[in-house]
Symmetry: C2
Subunit: 186 residues, 2 copies
DNA sequence: TTGCATGAGTGCAAAGTTGCAATTGCGTAG
DNA sequence: CTACGCAATTGCAACTTTGCACTCATGCAA
């Protein structure tokens, strides 16, 4: 963060970062998938059956959309909330908005995991129970895309307008964006 | 395509491709943004006011979703329909499904263009006319994500199940996916 | 004919990324 | 004490991608 804020995103080279951190180039990539991921603090978190169960327990009344959004934000949550670095991170993101795209990629990375995660819930959902497996998979893809768009928009709004509310508010905001848009689309 | 089909996606190096094509490495990147884009035949197409007007003239009754989907498919249309290479391309995509993600990136690349393109239509749409500019931008982001997900799903379905129908069917299918999902989400 | 602007193509160097093989340190079974 | 396995780290080479500077052919104006 220091190097990036001091030298700019492009001029802070990996070699400089690694030397400053006292590790080798190769070790860096053992912990982060890319330079940008490291800046955002994104690590390879996994969506397990446990995490799904946890969310479902915490929000018993959640439907597919709510569950999906909370899982997604849960994935990028640690990278946003990690306290001290927060302000620097927001400063950098404001300077380089394209970093926000990384959140979408992070989610795309676990697209498959999310597909299987929401599949059983989708099969049981009121509006989707009658679908064939093929149709259900297509629906899952579309819903995932819808939710990730809302999540990205919510995070973007949160980082660009200063963070008045805690992270839960971003979750709720993203869910609201989905609901709102669906309703307006009739 | 020949090299990729013969050596595999990873073993067909840029150097080999460039030598086979009789151009330099650097020239390659003057025409394609990446190796994968070249395989899919994706070039830097632009969404102009003209192309928007054209679609609107062709489909006078189209709403925001329909317009957006047709614009998106229009962007990746040439890379799908270009005749001869079609079968090879589908074979490769079936072997490396992650290439489909490139379509989403291609659309993300012109996210801003699409935002401004659908903005006026969104402001006039029945369900969205009352929104503030900020809310409208958020809605646009969510709708773009929703449509790109449906477009990608439709293309995926089209390439994996053999291409019975022409490209227009993919557009219609993607629109149907959006409508269907929105309706089921209530 | 000369000079110049333009655009396409190229070479080169630097940076990010990844697979593979080798090394190191450490705890544990024999 | 030794040998072994395991995980973290590293070096190295190959590959993709990008910015910059250079050449060269073409065409056009003076």
């Amino acid at each position: 963060m220091t190097l990036v804020l001091h030298d700019g995103l492009e001029h802070a080279t990996l070699d400089a970062i690694c030397e400053s951190a006292g590790v080798s180039n190769r070790t860096f990539f053992n912990y982060f998938d890319s330079k940008e991921d490291a800046i955002l603090g994104l690590t390879d978190s996994e969506i397990t059956d446990d995490s799904v169960a946890e969310i479902m327990a915490a929000y018993p009344a959640a439907d597919v959309v709510e569950l999906t959004v909370r899982l997604m934000i849960g994935v990028i949550n640690p990278s946003i909330t990690s306290s001290k670095l927060l302000k620097s991170r927001m400063k950098i993101v404001k300077l380089h908005p394209h970093l926000l795209g990384r959140f979408a990629l992070q989610i795309q990375r676990m697209h498959d995991q999310l597909t299987t995660a929401i599949r059983p819930m989708l099969a049981a959902a009121p509006g989707f129970a009658d679908q064939s497996p093929e149709e259900s998979e297509l629906s899952a893809d579309v819903i995932l895309s819808l939710c990730s768009g809302a999540a990205r928009a919510a995070v973007k709004e949160w980082t660009t307008t200063g963070n008045k509310a805690p992270i839960e508010a971003v979750e709720d905001r993203a869910i609201e964006l989905v609901r709102n848009t669906v309703k307006r689309l009739k």
